[in-house]
């Protein structure tokens, strides 16, 4: 592994206050976008002629599903950077992203089930995307439990980074093999891919909600990375001098 030491420049100590300053702004922006998005999804978007009002669940289901996928790839990216250049802060970012990504996957699964029940009469539908979402949740849990199982933070970061990279490479393979398996057994009729024909306001609503989810995720990850930094640098002097409200 090349041993360029970048940690002098992106040291957790300098990032800690920066994250603290940015997080509230992202939080407020997320709230604003969410407000506007909800307004669109409930008051501007028309009723769908096929699914009636139930389709409005896509305004959370689809953003959550997108976020769960993107966050995994971003997590794997940070983990790879941390692994290759031994930058502790990048590994901490990966560790900070994982729980939020897992939460997004959990939300996507729940809203998928709540949508499937009225539409197809079953809480769980072996649809290609829902099944891949479930497997993605296992990949997140694998990353988090492997990281938690190793005491030494350095080895934990590097080992979890390897499984994140291997997982990231497997995500498309898993998706396509599940898609192949789904069309083989179920036929396309039951799959969620047949999203109702998208009136422009619906698309717009989903886009705004996705941005809201993005901003929320950034805010939460920044807050969590501060916790991770504090936990890891507990004995460092700069942590000791922090005021009670830092």
């Amino acid at each position: 592994m090349s041993d360029i030491r970048w940690y002098k420049f992106s040291s957790p100590q300098t990032f800690y206050p920066l994250a603290g300053a940015l997080a509230p702004w992202f939080g407020v922006a997320a709230a604003l976008f969410a407000g506007y998005g909800l307004y669109i999804s409930f008051f501007l978007a028309p009723t769908d002629f096929q699914q009636g009002e139930a389709y409005r669940i896509i305004f959370i289901h689809v953003p959550a599903a997108w976020m769960s996928m993107f966050l995994y790839l971003i997590m794997a990216g940070w983990a790879a950077i941390g692994l290759a250049w031994h930058t502790r802060l990048s590994s901490m970012m990966a560790v900070a992203i994982a729980p939020t990504g897992a939460l997004m996957t959990f939300i996507a699964l729940w809203t998928g089930a709540l949508w499937g029940k009225p539409m197809w009469g079953a809480w769980w539908v072996w649809d290609a995307r829902l099944t891949s979402e479930l497997i993605l949740l296992f990949l997140y849990l694998g990353f988090m439990f492997l990281h938690a199982a190793i005491d030494d933070p350095r080895r934990a970061d590097r080992a979890a980074a390897v499984i994140a990279i291997v997982g990231a490479i497997n995500v498309p393979i898993i998706y396509f093999s599940v898609k192949w398996w789904n069309t083989l057994h179920q036929g396309a009729s039951v799959s969620l891919t047949r999203i109702p024909t998208m009136a422009s306001t619906m698309l717009w609503g989903m886009l705004i909600m996705s941005i809201a989810f993005w901003l929320y995720a950034i805010a939460v990850v920044l807050i969590r990375v501060r916790c991770v930094i504090l936990e890891r640098e507990r004995n460092a002097d700069w942590v000791k001098q922090l005021g009670a409200d830092a």
Binding site: M1, S2, D3, R5, H86, D151, D152, R234, N235
Partner: protein, 206 residues
């Protein structure tokens, strides 16, 4: 030539040592001393590339050992706390197979000769699982006898669990290796006098 520039080792929250510099020329004995837990084993493992240092670099002929990889490892012999013996295999099999993997082809006669040097000739067909700790250590040491061609020896507590005769034999082998232009880095608790062209004492945890 193996050189270290301000090496640092951190275990958990504790910094074991930092700013460690040394250069091993042919004929140098690096004697690492220190209380238990002062990082002796960590330093040795760092020197053979098993442990990446928290800071600082190690160079083999001015190339960082991480990059010099295969070239560095074909000049290295490492003997750790663990003997590296398979319980199911007998001493001769263990010796030949492990040296083969380390890059030194050894035929049956050479293996038997080395085990004879180690005083284990008559036990060479016994599975290593049935040998005592001292005997297993002597099988591991027999690897030294067959690795004279390797310039750099890194030995972690080579003399533990050995009887006086074995300590004597091993010490002579190390002295010959040093006299022949080899480099040896070792840690030991027993005070075993080893004469070497140049001796570099390293005191850890002082």
């Amino acid at each position: 030539m193996l050189s270290a520039n301000d090496l640092e080792c951190v275990r958990g929250e504790r910094r074991l040592f930092s700013g460690l510099n040394f250069a091993m020329q042919p004929g140098t004995l690096l004697a690492v001393r220190g209380v238990n837990g002062s990082g002796k084993t960590s330093l040795l493992r760092m020197m053979c590339g098993l442990l990446t240092p928290a800071a600082g670099t190690l160079n083999w002929n001015d190339r960082e050992i991480g990059k010099a990889g295969e070239e560095f490892r074909s000049n290295l012999l490492y003997l750790g706390h663990l003997n590296g013996l398979k319980d199911e295999l007998n001493a001769a099999e263990n010796l030949r197979l492990s040296l083969h993997i380390a890059g030194i082809a050894v035929d049956e006669a050479q293996a038997v000769a080395a085990l004879d040097w180690s005083g284990l000739r008559e036990r060479r067909h016994q599975p290593c699982g049935t040998l005592s700790q001292g005997q297993r250590r002597r099988v591991a040491l027999a690897r030294l006898k067959l690795s004279q061609s390797r310039p750099l020896w890194i030995l972690d507590e080579p003399f533990t669990a050995l009887d006086v005769a074995s300590v004597e034999r091993t010490r002579d082998l190390i002295v010959d290796h040093l006299a022949g232009g080899g480099m040896v880095a070792l840690t030991t608790h027993q005070e075993v006098p080893i004469t070497a062209p140049t001796t570099l004492p390293i005191e850890l945890g002082a």
